[in-house]
Amino acid sequence: MKGGQNLAEMKAVSGVPESVPALLARNVAQFGSKPAYREKEFGIWQTWTWAEAAEEIQAIAYGYLALGVAKGDHVAIVGRNRPAMYWSMVAAMKVGAVPVPMYQDAVAEEMTYALEHSGARFVVCGDQEQVDKVIEVQGTVHQIEHIIYQDPRGLRKYDHTKLHALADIQAEGRAAHERFEKELAEREASLLYDDTCVMLYTSGTTGKSKGVVLSNRNVIETARASSEFDHLRPSDETLAYLPMAWVGDFIFSVGQAYWTGFCTNCPESPDTMMTDLREIGPTYFFAPPRMFETTLTTVMIRMEDAGSLKRKMFHKYMEHAKKVGPALLDGKPVSLGDKLKYWIGDKLVYGPLKNTLGFSRVRVGYTAGEAIGPEIFEFYRSLGINLKQLYGQTEATVFITQQPDGEVRADTVGVPSPGVEIRIGDSGEIYYRSPGTFVEYYKNPESTADTKDPEGWVATGDAGFIEESSGHLRIIDRAKDVGKMADGRLFAPKYVENKLKFYPNILEAVVFGNGRDMCTAFINIDLAAVGNWAERNNIAYASYQELAGHPQVMDTIQAHVEEVNKSIATDPMLSGCQVHRFLILHKELDADDGEMTRTRKVRRRIVEEKFDDLINALYSGKAEQYTETEVTYEDGRKGKITATLEIRDAAVVEAAGQAQVAAE
């Protein structure tokens, strides 16, 4: 990595190549001898420079031509992140075909839909597992003609009339290069800025998955804007470990990597990801909140097992880091003494810890996908890791908003990315329009029209608002869950419920208020947390119901609700969602009783029907309510529990916005 410094100063931009293969050609010309791909194989990091990678890609492209890949064909790619899988995608672009990366952990049935819908004639597989699935799919989907695989293990004895090793395809391509040289050059030259670059299937958690068509313009414009936003450099390193079918991986490992010319590193196997992360020490890194959470938990558990000196040192310096770390990262003034103490902490604690986690060199880190707990977010930032949030989706070619350096907070998702316009609809739904806005859903004009209006505005399906003081976007909830209260104020139940559930004592919360004049809530206590507290305070209880009804428990929960109210009141948009009255349910919401899904999401409508009497009591001002509830035991028997529940009023805070409404 001697050349790193010089390369960093090299200009990444020179003209605008209009396709990914054109970017590849530019990279070969500009930094041909710089590493483009690395993969750990046989315990050693193998490196390919941009020039070497381009040769490999070219060989695959010639091989595709020999196999008969036509312009506009779809080439499905399914396998784990390996350089050859990325090369297969770029080679497909070179011959004018469209790569369609697919989720490698999908079962054959799930793959069938996407393979059939895309009309792919060629499938590139990582290994035997994927080949087996595609062969199974071929039973019903007859348009698949050829299967190409990378790892030959276990495939030697398969019928090879329509099955080819990638290495063989490359060898064939190399041998036939003279025959196809002109053809390939022509096809590559004919690629236009608005031609399709890639097609990505959405995960399809709601209904059938859709094939999102992204053009070269989408990919290149977004890659350029986002690379410049974060000042990415050719000397940057990333680790490619997230599913290749996910738009994020495509933009990070192909879009931005090709635009900027940085190096994409592929782990040896999914199990070695953490070791490989430490060895590579990426400078640009993305991970979903779950990964940061798991890592933090591991660190905390290991610290609890450490010797007392280490433990004390860790806690002492982490406390200091929490105080000044984020400020230092944001370039805010910090006293000299604090700086010195942070410097010592860095030598003793933060530095070694970051090194163990593989985060020593992270210059730009992102997390997205779901809300990240503020304490997790702050932990990494206090260590000096520039972790930021972004908000995006496949249809936007990832980027809708992202946080600029120095303006990073746990509760926003940042400002609109360069070139992105954002509009909040009347219902609170977020709309955007950008150069990255997708072309269409493949073979699905109705859905395209539903999602994207003629002016190019796309509905995200999320509700949120732009914070006036900072211009940052804040996401509240899924748009379909957001409603209006009787006086027209915004009602966002999940936003409030998430805040409540942030307290360890509260397991579940259901907030009501759609079309009503105030918000109320059902609370489920967390038996483990509250039970633990009861034990320590010598409070005897025989059942969940008894503990839930204990006055001291009610007091604790009331304090939590009031704290949440205070925090909500600071949001002018959402101050109407403060919880005025609440009760603690006499039973835990349970999937067996149909109150939750098996994935533990509250079924709001069923809860509303089932506990109709309790909701009425919340809104009628009663101080207690008798109720009978049918429950299903684990063996399927049904029984009835009866209870008289206490209903409490919680203090609400008069917010500025609210006062205005009242005055009008």
Partner: protein, 273 residues
């Protein structure tokens, strides 16, 4: 006496089973007054997966130890690739291309997985002690070649993530896999597996079965294994020898063995469905 001659044939899954690789003729093994193996003859063909089954104390492990040269039978001969085996010590047998795993894992607990596997390459090293001590010339070249082979096996058995982990810290199922790796890295012609799946859960058994089939398929290694799990034995093996009280009571394909009355009585039991 010559070895039994077979015509090579190709199995349904495309593997070629060749002529006799090893033949045991009239083997009798005694420990003092105890007769562990009584006049047993059977053979192992090139490329096949051969199972030895039987109830506890039937003499299966003793048989495996005869094949590996650890026990010397009082009567009978062992033929390997057309030659009668004379008095031989275990390391000489290993040099012939026979490697094994053990029923009770026999790894070096304090050493890393990689180091353990490297010990399996001992027979492929010819550089002198001095060369190795000063890491010069041949020693270096050999080590590089051996490491490459070891890494190939690590990749094959998917144990990259534990490459540097001390074996003592690994769970049982993985230790078994490391032991298989150490045997494989010797590039054996004949691999002996002593209860490779004992004490494993269903998932680990499935993995191990897959690896055994892959080893046989990819490297063309002949495999002789002892196993208690009947389902596994019947699925994996081409031919099965059944032993009981030191005697051979059955020999043939899984189907033949399954329908052999003597075997049913002694071991398999009667199916009631």
């Amino acid at each position: 006496m010559t070895m039994m001659q077979y015509e090579p044939y190709v199995t349904a899954d495309g593997r070629t089973i060749g002529n006799t690789m090893m033949e045991m003729t009239n083997i009798t093994l005694r420990f003092g007054g105890v007769v562990a193996i009584k006049d047993i003859s059977f053979d192992i063909r090139e490329g096949e997966i051969r199972a030895i089954i039987g109830p506890n104390g039937a003499g299966k492990s003793s048989m495996l130890n005869v094949i590996s040269g650890f026990y010397k039978p009082q009567e009978g001969d062992v033929w390997f690739r057309g030659e009668k085996r004379g008095p031989m010590r275990p390391f000489e047998v290993a040099r012939q291309g026979i490697a094994r795993t053990f029923q009770n894992i026999a790894l070096f607990d304090g050493m890393s997985v990689l180091d353990n596997i490297m010990t399996g390459r001992l027979n492929h090293m010819s550089s002198s002690f001095l060369d190795q001590a000063i890491w010069w010339g041949k020693a270096e070249r050999e080590e590089v070649a051996n490491r490459e082979k070891a890494e190939e096996i690590i990749d094959f058995l998917e144990i990259q993530a534990i490459r540097k982990t001390p074996v003592g810290r690994l769970p049982y199922g993985l230790k078994k896999r490391v032991e298989l790796a150490r045997a494989l890295v010797a590039e054996p012609k004949l691999l002996l597996l002593d209860e490779p799946m004992a004490g494993m859960n269903v998932e680990e058994k499935e993995d191990m079965s897959r690896f055994i089939l892959d080893v046989n398929d990819e490297f063309g290694t002949t495999i002789a294994l002892i196993e208690h799990d009947m389902g596994v034995v019947m699925d994996l093996s081409d031919r099965v020898v059944v032993m009981d009280y030191g005697k051979k009571i059955g020999d043939g394909t899984p189907d033949e063995v399954r329908s052999n009355q003597e075997v049913i009585d002694a071991y398999l039991g009667v199916s009631h469905d």
